[in-house]
């Protein structure tokens, strides 16, 4: 059972990664999601995939995972912001090769869960979530940019 950092706490999770055919307990791939007649409640996005169908059914989803096949591949950051901007409120989970030094940015983009190997890695990663207390831009965690907060 993979452990993850969810809303700042280390927790266990029972969702399993996507498989070739959609199976109970497993995340759906985007194409499985598109083809399914009864929409799954958990889906995993890979970089480069079009997610128009996912964006249309955000209310019925409880988990969206975004995979980072390489930590330098920053496409997942934009998926997260797009999902949150369109009103997705469920769990948004980063999986794959991202590193703890990206956690602060990932959480600003709307990720609230991070799947990493090992409790010690998760414990250390917690600290990186709070690398900065102030930010210039509006993002998912702070809906007002600094220029508006300064004025207020």
């Amino acid at each position: 059972m993979p452990s993850l950092l969810r809303n700042g706490q280390i927790e266990q999770d029972s969702w399993l990664p996507p498989t070739e055919a959609l199976a109970p307990g497993h995340l759906a791939t985007v194409s499985q999601y598109v083809e399914a007649s009864e929409k799954p409640t958990a889906v995993q996005i890979e970089p480069g995939e079009g997610i128009a169908d996912v964006l249309e059914n955000l209310d019925s989803l409880e988990l969206v995972a975004v995979n980072f096949p390489a930590f330098m591949d920053g496409r997942g950051f934009s998926y997260a912001r797009e999902l949150r901007e369109r009103g997705y409120t469920g769990e948004l989970r980063a999986v794959g090769a991202f590193i703890r030094d990206q956690l602060h940015y990932l959480s600003r983009c709307g990720f609230n869960a991070f799947q990493m190997d090992g409790e010690s890695a998760l414990e250390a990663a917690k600290a990186s979530l709070n690398d900065f207390s102030e930010h210039y831009q509006a993002a998912i965690d702070k809906p007002q940019p600094l220029f508006k907060r300064r004025a207020g």
């Binding site: 330098m72 934009s78 509006a138 600094l146």
Partner: protein, 553 residues
């Protein structure tokens, strides 16, 4: 200029502590080389051929004298006592120790400086016209918008792992002294038909392996939409830019592949849901940014011009320096001074700690305590009373900073090249020095008129060779250094990419090759023509024939 408040200070201070911990973990083996790479790059730290190199940000090229003195101090305390001005208006230290970098950054943070995003696949330092705010031909001061872009792009959570680096430039004059056509995004302040000032937005320009002039994606954008529109462009690029080949990863390749119309449509589609969203600028935010770039308290001099005329008449060497290195200011009685960092025998853009301190003292005495770096790798004092120019010039002479060559052949742009940079195919500084040594007769240079000669040590084109009137590119052929020449590039309003002259040359041939190019121009020019004019009239062939002619038997 912009002054930090507690928010800005907290952000840079926390950044220093974040990097201190990352450096510690790297040195302790907790972060791999591959993981540490983008982290150090986004804090300005390269690992070069001989030592690390630290690139320190100078937002849009503007700094105060406290910052200049700190740069001098840092170069003495942690390096070899000199710095280098880069073509993105930043300062570079060539010899710091990796373990010292967090301390250097902490020292810089104490004077509101940093090295954030001066490298890496993220949004880099926004650049602008070095004469912003004092230029007579300016529509509006572009610096408040540069500052708004600086804040928006600093530690932007979504755009720190882009396919490749991303550069934005802003200009507000028809002449365009910021090379906006050669940037990933170029912004020009322009009026629409109703007379309102907004932005013309260009995207997909760039140099490097595939030089491209930017395409217009929006003819006129209302100011308040600046940040959301930039966000939409960046989002399209982040999602669709190529990540499989680093040489095809810049936005220019994406714009070309999609076609500018399809690209514009994609941007508009991304923009629609965020337009008028939280990052929409308020009038208050723009006014706040503008409040930092107010007019200094200029004195109204009555005898300033007369003093200058008399001093010039008495000292022709001074008069010549005034003519070559100073330019008109929008306030009568003042001039903007360009201090040349291109004397013969010094790597273009290099400056010692003593020289920088001397310039800081002069800026305090004569130019409201501010100085500017230029993308041509010089330093500008923008607000000098004409009557003080003589004293200033005498002080500059003592520091070896009075070379009167601004805009002429030896005022060349040159990257650090193979002497320092691990990407370079060839050295560039020795070529620059050989050309400077050959053409050190100032009267000859003045007779040639304005010529931009740009040298890059590799395809990455940090020396902007594509947009030099004469461009030189270092290439590697079977382990040997060779140099390719291109002609007719231009960085200004009529921006164009230079054409390759022909087969490349050995390093020792370069002064001769440049000499033949110049001879061809001198023979063919009409009285009023600059080098670029003649080139545009006669084309590349006469130059080619001359340079590649077989010597007479």
């Amino acid at each position: 200029m912009y002054v930090y408040d507690q928010y800005d200070q907290a952000i840079v201070d926390q950044r220093v502590e974040q990097f201190r911990d990352q450096t510690r973990r790297y040195l302790a083996g907790e972060l791999t080389e591959e993981q540490f790479l983008p982290l150090r790059l986004q804090n300005g730290l390269y690992v070069q051929r001989l030592a690390p190199m630290l690139r320190i940000a100078v937002p849009y090229g503007l700094l105060n004298t406290r910052q200049a003195r700190m740069l001098a101090k840092v170069s003495r305390d942690y390096d070899k006592g000199y710095l280098h001005v880069s073509t993105r208006q930043n300062f570079q230290l060539n010899w710091p120790e990796l373990a010292d970098v967090p301390d250097i950054l902490a020292d810089l943070a104490s004077v509101e400086m940093h090295a954030i995003q001066t490298s890496g696949n993220c949004i880099r330092n926004t650049t602008t016209d070095q004469f912003a705010g004092v230029a007579a031909d300016e529509l509006e001061d572009p610096r408040p918008y540069c500052e708004l872009i600086r804040q928006w792009s600093t530690l932007h959570p979504e755009f720190a792992f882009l396919p490749r680096k991303f550069k934005i430039a802003v200009c507000a004059t028809a002449e365009d002294r910021a090379a906006i056509h050669a940037h990933d995004i170029g912004l020009e302040l322009v009026r629409n038909d109703a007379g309102e000032v907004g932005f013309k937005v260009l995207a997909g320009g760039g140099l490097g392996r595939t030089p491209v002039i930017g395409s217009v994606v929006c003819e006129w954008l209302e100011k308040k939409h600046l940040l959301t529109y930039l966000e939409a462009i960046l989002r399209v690029y982040n999602q669709h830019g190529r990540r499989d080949n680093k040489y095809k990863a810049r936005i220019k390749i994406l714009v070309k592949a999609m076609g500018v119309d399809a690209f514009r449509e994609a941007v508009e589609a991304e923009w629609a849901p965020i337009k008028d969203g939280a990052n929409t600028l308020t009038g208050e935010a723009i006014a706040h940014a503008q409040s930092f770039f107010t007019t200094p308290e200029y004195t109204s001099y009555t005898d300033s011009v007369e003093t200058l005329t008399n001093q010039s008449a008495n000292d022709p060497i001074f008069a010549n320096w005034v003519k070559r290195n100073t330019c008109e200011h929008r306030v009568p009685g003042y001039r903007a001074v360009t201090i040349s960092l291109k004397p013969t025998g010094i790597a273009p853009g290099d400056i010692t700690a003593e020289q920088l301190e001397a310039i800081a003292d002069l800026a305090d005495r004569f130019s409201f305590g501010e100085l500017r770096t230029t993308h041509q790798q010089n330093i500008v004092l923008a607000d000098v009373p004409s009557s003080e120019l003589y004293t200033l010039w005498q002080a500059l002479q003592k520091q070896g900073l009075a070379t009167a060559n601004i805009g002429y052949l030896t005022d060349m742009i040159c990257c650090p090249g193979g002497d320092f940079c691990s990407l370079a195919n060839a050295k560039s500084i020795p070529v620059a020095e050989a050309i400077q040594a050959r053409f050190d007769d100032l009267d000859y240079l003045y007779d040639l008129g304005p010529i931009e000669l740009n040298i890059s040590g590799c395809m990455n084109a940090c020396g902007h060779h594509h947009i030099g009137h004469i461009g030189i590119l270092g290439v590697d052929k079977k382990g040997q250094e060779f140099y390719q020449v291109c002609l007719g590039g231009s960085q200004s309003k009529d921006a164009s990419i230079g054409k390759i002259l022909g087969p490349s040359f050995g390093r020792e041939d370069m002064p001769d090759v440049v000499g033949k190019v110049l001879d061809t121009y001198v023979e063919l020019r009409t009285e009023e023509e600059t080098f670029l004019d003649t080139y545009q009239r006669v084309g590349i062939d006469p130059f080619k024939e001359r340079v590649y002619a077989k010597p007479a038997a």
